[in-house]
């Protein structure tokens, strides 16, 4: 590496997103974004990647070096009226949440495990969300980014709520694990605190898988279905088009998962299906939005309302209860919330 960079510290294991320790990549600290741009133009593709929170665990390529970004990025700012946070990519979700809280906003739809993951690292690993999980992902909340190409040029996707300005060119960076250049900033939509429900949840037993699917279909936008630890098995759909699927499959089988057949006429047909005990699966289910998770019946479900306004949550609660009972669900009193 060049004199523009200095190796400051070696990486702790927590900062290594690679499963196999083939060697320790060096950590570099560019003096400026311009210096970073020059290095990126020189380095072979994917030899030089941004440092995130190191929580990924599924990255397959190990770069020669990682570079630190946080000292180069402006601090976070908040647009209170629009309920958005403009965040440096190196910020962890934990830190972002702390800022949001100070403004009466919240990011709590994001999984707890994200506390140590960075905004940039998450977006760099985020796929386009699959159909049923679209509202709670970091990707869905990201309404703008600023990034650097490997040529050193800069790209911004401005932070209007929605545009029709051609293809969404963020595709070049999202889910690319840093190989196409660093994400520098992201604008994230938050929710207004105080409007979140006090975890109105309803323990239920599903009579059949069809009933679960029916529930997802009817209320998919309004709620999250969380299979509870009491449930025996979980069925996962692993998308065959994801590079990490093979790795994940091995890991799951090692955890006791069993291959199973496909349930419905899903597309693409080559997807892999597994059944495995919930306890082992729970982290993994939370770990990636690329997994569809369907609880098998008879199954215990906790229905958590995502809607943020108490009257709506209450209204939905009633609706859901009636809808569910009509759809063949029964109350399950033993499941705690």
């Amino acid at each position: 590496m060049t004199d523009r960079w200095q190796a400051t510290r070696s990486l702790t294991p927590a900062h290594r997103p690679w499963p196999i320790a083939a060697g320790q990549p060096t950590l570099f600290v560019p003096a400026s974004l311009e210096a970073l741009a020059i290095e990126l133009q020189r380095a072979p593709a994917a030899a030089l990647l941004p440092l995130g929170g190191g929580t990924d665990g599924l990255a397959t390529t190990q770069p020669d070096a990682l570079y630190q970004l946080d000292h180069l990025l402006q601090p976070a700012s908040v647009d209170e009226a629009s309920a958005t946070l403009d965040l440096p990519a190196s910020m962890t979700w934990g830190a972002a949440q702390a800022i949001a809280t100070a403004y009466g906003l919240t990011l709590t739809d994001l999984p707890d495990a994200f506390a140590d993951a960075t905004v940039g690292g998450t977006l760099a690993r985020a796929p386009w969300q699959p159909v049923l999980h679209h509202s709670a992902t970091a990707r869905a909340r990201c309404i703008g980014i600023s990034a650097m190409l490997l040529t050193g040029e800069r790209y911004h996707y401005k932070t209007a709520s929605r545009t029709a300005s051609g293809p969404d060119l963020r595709t070049h960076f999202l889910g690319r694990a840093g190989a196409t250049g660093p994400i520098l900033r992201a604008t994230i939509e938050a929710s207004r605190e105080g409007h979140l429900p006090h975890d109105l949840s309803l323990p239920l037993t599903a009579a059949s898988l069809q009933a679960v699917i029916g529930l997802q279909r009817r209320f998919g936008r309004a709620l999250r279905l969380l299979p509870t630890p009491a449930a025996a098995t979980i069925r996962l759909r692993l998308r065959s088009d994801r590079p990490e699927t093979a790795l994940l499959l091995d890991a799951l089988v090692a955890l006791g998962a069993q291959h199973t057949t496909q349930l419905t006429n899903e597309r693409p047909a080559a997807d892999r299906w597994l059944t495995l005990p919930f306890a082992e699966a729970s982290t993994l289910i939370e770990a990636t939005t690329e997994l569809f998770c369907l609880a098998l019946g008879p199954t215990h479900l906790t229905v958590a309302l995502r809607k943020s306004h108490p009257p709506i949550a209450l209204a939905n609660h009633e609706l859901i209860r009636e809808g569910l009972l009509g759809a063949g669900f029964t109350r399950h009193s033993e499941v705690s919330q």
């Binding site: 545009t163 029709a164 699917i213 998919g220």
Partner: protein, 525 residues
Amino acid sequence: MAVAALVDELRASLSAEATVTASATAKLVYSRDSWPRLSLQARAGQRAISPPDLVVHAGTVADVVEVVRAAGRHSLPVVPFGAGSGVCGAAVPIKGGISLDTKRLLDLDLSRAADGLICVGAGWIGQRLEHELQRHGYTLGHFPSSIGCSTVGGYLATRSAGQYSTRFGKIEDMVVSLRFVDGEGQLRHTTEGPLDTTQLLVGSEGMLGVIVDAWLRVEPAATSGRLFRGYWCTSVSQGLEAMRRAIQAGHQPAVFRLYDPFDSFISGARKAEEGELLLPTDPQQWPRKKAPSWLPASLSPAELKPRLMTAANELLSRRPSATHWLNILASKAETGCLLIAGVEEASDEDAALLGRALFDDLGSRLQDLGPAPGEYWFAHRHDVSFKMAPILAAGMFVDTMEVSAPWHRVAALYDAVHAAVENEAFVMAHFSHAYTSGCSIYFTFAGFGADESDCLARYDRVWKAGLSAVAAFGAATTHHHGVGLLKAAWLGSDQPGGAPLFAAARREIDPAGILNPGKLWEVAP
């Protein structure tokens, strides 16, 4: 290359459902879309920018593959064409070639509708698709004003939004994946590779692939679960604040529309009584620049109505200063603003529960006008788009500009665009398509020139001034009409630095650059 030979070649290779023609009529029809500027040009006697060399109606997906391959062999552009309802010139074949009409791609797979997914051919006209879905108990939830004259392929290619977008999302929120034919004639699925490219194809305006079908989300259809309520706001700011609070509180109304004072006035929410004229009856005496001192600071609906009627008639007869005068009158209107909120859910109970929560929230801040304004809107919701023709026929120009901004900038953006264009055109607006972080403003503007070329020049100046004001605000220059030829110069404002990224995508998907060339990022700034 002889067009006749290509016509023969294609006729021999395409399916029986396909048609291939190079007739003068077809070339004329496919030389344009519904961009109002093209109507102004036609009215001025100018010829089409550039007609296609031939027009193909693909009957099957294989036909699309074959047409793109043939075009590649002959180095001819291929311009996908849905229903030509685009309002920005996106489907205009500026470099000639083949206009490829996809309206005959009418496959429909409802086998997974119960899971909330359908697979639909790109050629379906929105209205017909919606009828078909509703027959089976589902809805797509996509209701653009052009629903009767636009296709699924067109929606996807332009990032379209329907009138219920606050509840169902824009088309990009509804699409799960799609199939397209790339520039080399390969049929591809956006989720086939390691990276999902769906959102790269969405909005690509025919430049990154010919979309042949798509997996879209559907929901159970509303049968009767539809409720409306109108509210009266003292100002645009008060209305916007009520919308913002409701959306951020988690409400998701199907319809949420706030009209500015003038749009509120003409939307018929308040019936003004005829009042006596305070204005000089002779429009020749109307002021040309500023509001006269003798005009009251504000006008009641009864005072306003007759003046507006006169001014509007003068506008239609292209009286100099009529646009300016209308703007002044509009700014004097003390009518306040109309907000319409509506919920639509699959069942009456759902609608009642969600409606009650929303209406209680709004009613705690605003004056409740009951259901009538919303029901009136619903009954006439497609009318306004079709009122352009008489205005164009009267020798004027008219168009709409839909932009979007974060909440904290919406009101100021409204003022800025107004100020930027009011010397050239009469302008009014409504606010709709609300999201947690912002909403869109839909401006309608109209004016005229001394003659046809002045009219065109003025029309161009309005767009330039309006969009420059939007860009200066850092807001989005297009919310749902797409880019086309009209807004390409502002792409760099919405996605600064996007040119090399688009070029890279183009090289990968369409290396020879034959798909709708010369649009989006390929328009010289």
